[in-house]
Amino acid sequence: MIVLDLFHYWTFIALLMMGFYTVIVKNNLVKRLLGLSLFQSAVFLLFIGIAKVEGGTTPIFTNLVDSQVFSNPLPQVLILTAIVVGISTSALGLAIILRIKEAYGTIEEDEIQSREEEAQ
């Protein structure tokens, strides 16, 4: 069935939307950051998924078999980089949340706003 054949893409879309939803809806900054991570991970899965070649093996070149089928190594390499970027983003985001906690005493968005209004 065509829908199931594409299940990798469905997973990508489901994860992407879950992450996106969390980012938009949640009031807690940590949760929003988690949503963002999920959002990014979904895209990583998209890339990893497309690298799979049916019957393909690890792309290490040997001269044993001539017509060896490899998985595509390039997306995996790309995503290795993207994961690093994603982790840095999360780390920086968490650091900012820490500072927000120090400065405002809360990490709930609406409370931050009301404290800012009180201060003025």
Partner: protein, 492 residues
């Protein structure tokens, strides 16, 4: 040696960044950062000369030829933006030492300068990269570093602002990544010129259309195109003053650069009907950005936020020029990128210097400061006039070209004309409001220390260059025309 300039443009600031971290006296770290930035500026000037005389440069990294290796490319378009980015960084650093010292803990300054160089390297990297994925990586390097810069100031309101920016920026970049992934699925390549050659065979397939959508929206978020501008005003307003000057001068423009590069290289020439979609999508957004930005700038009471809102509107002018997809429109957009960077950079540096003596960011705290420091205030005035587009300043020429491009349109001339002209009037209003506050109230009481002399001199020089480029605009005009040729040339 000269052929290695494209890679040196990125590598020099990137390698200097960790080195700066180790330098302790803040002044030395600043000097090293400035020297690095100046070197990058010198390289950019060289690249401008090389591309105008010899045409585009291609640089295969490590000698691996494209499409297998990663390729850097510098043409008229990239040269213009290299100049903007490295110039903005250099002059802001040059004028900004006292302001930075006053806002950032001295023990943290070496970290701050490290982040600055990373942001610079990232922005430059985006421009020289000829590889779609590398653009993403550089975009993230630049963004992460600029989040650090923005959050580095004393103002706690910067923190929620930068968090919002982080979320929206990451979503924008990830959207871009999705688009690139879809294109990779269809074409099997990431090299921009290679994609351009392979795209025609798959152009009728849905993933390409979806990719165009994701990339455009992702970059629109990064470029703060209305209504995706929500992160910009607070971020610019609460960041350290010199960071605002640097980012306002170039960060959104780099996103616009990528948008133009990708759109004109890949989609415009291949996707049937994309030209119309591009126009229908962007012209209304640009118009709303122009009006909303100017309107909010008229109403706001925070000095920096007035000009942050003005940036939303000015991005609108750039996008409008580009979205008209004509030679004069694109020239106007690119010229305005340069002129606006110059003017807005000057204004924010000026506000930063005056802020050394203002109690808060409220407009009222700046009352009468223009009387105390006429040179700085006059510099802000001149740059502001360029922003409005008063003849004799650089901004007038880009506005002239924009109106010319509007006149060349087959329809909607009157509406577009009205929007451009009325928004110019609105910008007169917000500028006048700011300047009236600077000049007319009596100078604040109490003995005020004078402004740093060197920084004021740089500020005045920048303001005068806004006039210089209004009267003798050969350099930016030639670059913008050449870049417009480059972009439209892909269509032929």
């Amino acid at each position: 040696m000269l052929s290695h300039l494209p890679i040196l443009q990125v590598v020099v600031p990137m390698l200097m960044a960790p080195l700066v971290l180790l330098i302790q006296p803040a002044r030395l770290a600043w000097a090293l950062t400035l020297a690095t930035s100046a070197l990058a500026f010198a390289i950019a000037i060289n690249l401008v000369q090389l591309t105008t005389s010899d045409g585009p440069m291609l640089y295969p990294i490590g000698g691996w030829e494209a499409p297998y290796g990663i390729e850097l490319q510098v043409d008229g378009l990239s040269a213009l933006f290299l100049l903007i980015v490295s110039g903005a960084s250099t002059f802001v650093l040059l004028a900004g030492y006292q302001s930075l010292i006053s806002e950032i803990k001295e023990s943290k300054l070496n970290w701050f300068f490290g982040a600055w160089l990373l942001a610079l390297a990232g922005l430059l990297g985006i421009v020289v990269s000829g590889d779609a994925f590398n653009i993403f990586v550089f975009m993230e390097i630049a963004s992460l570093a600029s989040y650090v810069l923005i959050a580095g100031g004393p103002n706690r309101q910067a923190l929620p602002a930068v968090f919002k920016y982080l979320i929206m920026g990451t979503i924008g970049a990830t959207f871009y990544l999705i688009g690139i992934g879809l294109i990779y699925i269809m074409t099997g390549t990431l090299n921009m010129s290679d994609i351009a050659t392979k795209l025609p065979s798959v152009v009728d397939q849905t993933p390409i259309l979806v990719a165009a959508g994701f990339i455009s929206i992702g970059l629109a978020l990064k470029a703060a195109i209305f209504p995706m501008h929500a992160w910009l005003p607070n971020t610019y307003c609460f960041a350290p003053n010199m960071v605002t000057a640097f980012l306002a001068a170039c960060s959104t423009k780099i996103a616009i650069y990528v948008l133009l590069r990708v759109d004109f290289t890949l989609f415009q020439s291949n996707l049937i009907g994309h030209l119309i979609q591009f126009k229908i999508f962007l012209i209304p957004l640009a118009c709303m950005a122009i009006l909303a930005g100017a309107y909010m700038a008229m109403r706001d009471t925070l000095a920096k936020k007035i000009f942050a809102w003005s940036s939303v509107g000015q991005v609108g002018y750039i996008i409008l020029g580009a979205a008209l997809v004509s030679h004069s429109g694109l020239t106007s957009a690119l010229l305005h990128s340069f002129n606006h960077a110059l003017a807005k950079g000057t204004i924010f540096i000026g506000i930063g210097l005056l802020a050394l003596q203002a109690k808060s960011g409220e407009l009222s705290s700046f009352a009468g400061l223009g009387r105390r420091h006429p040179l700085a205030a006059i510099a802000i005035t001149i740059a502001g006039l360029s922003l409005v587009g008063i003849p004799g300043t650089a901004g007038f020429l880009s506005k002239w070209l924009l109106i010319q491009a509007v006149f060349e349109q087959p329809n909607g001339v009157i509406a577009l004309l009205a929007i451009v002209l009325v928004s110019s009037l609105m910008s007169v209003v917000y500028l006048a409001r700011f300047l009236e506050t600077l000049f007319f109230p009596p100078a604040p009481a109490g003995s005020e220390p004078t402004l740093p002399l060197g920084a004021t001199a740089i500020l005045v020089m920048l303001a005068l260059s806004s006039i210089y480029f209004g009267l003798a605009p050969a350099l930016p005009m030639e670059l913008a025309t050449q870049a417009a040729d480059t972009l439209l040339g892909y269509g032929k």
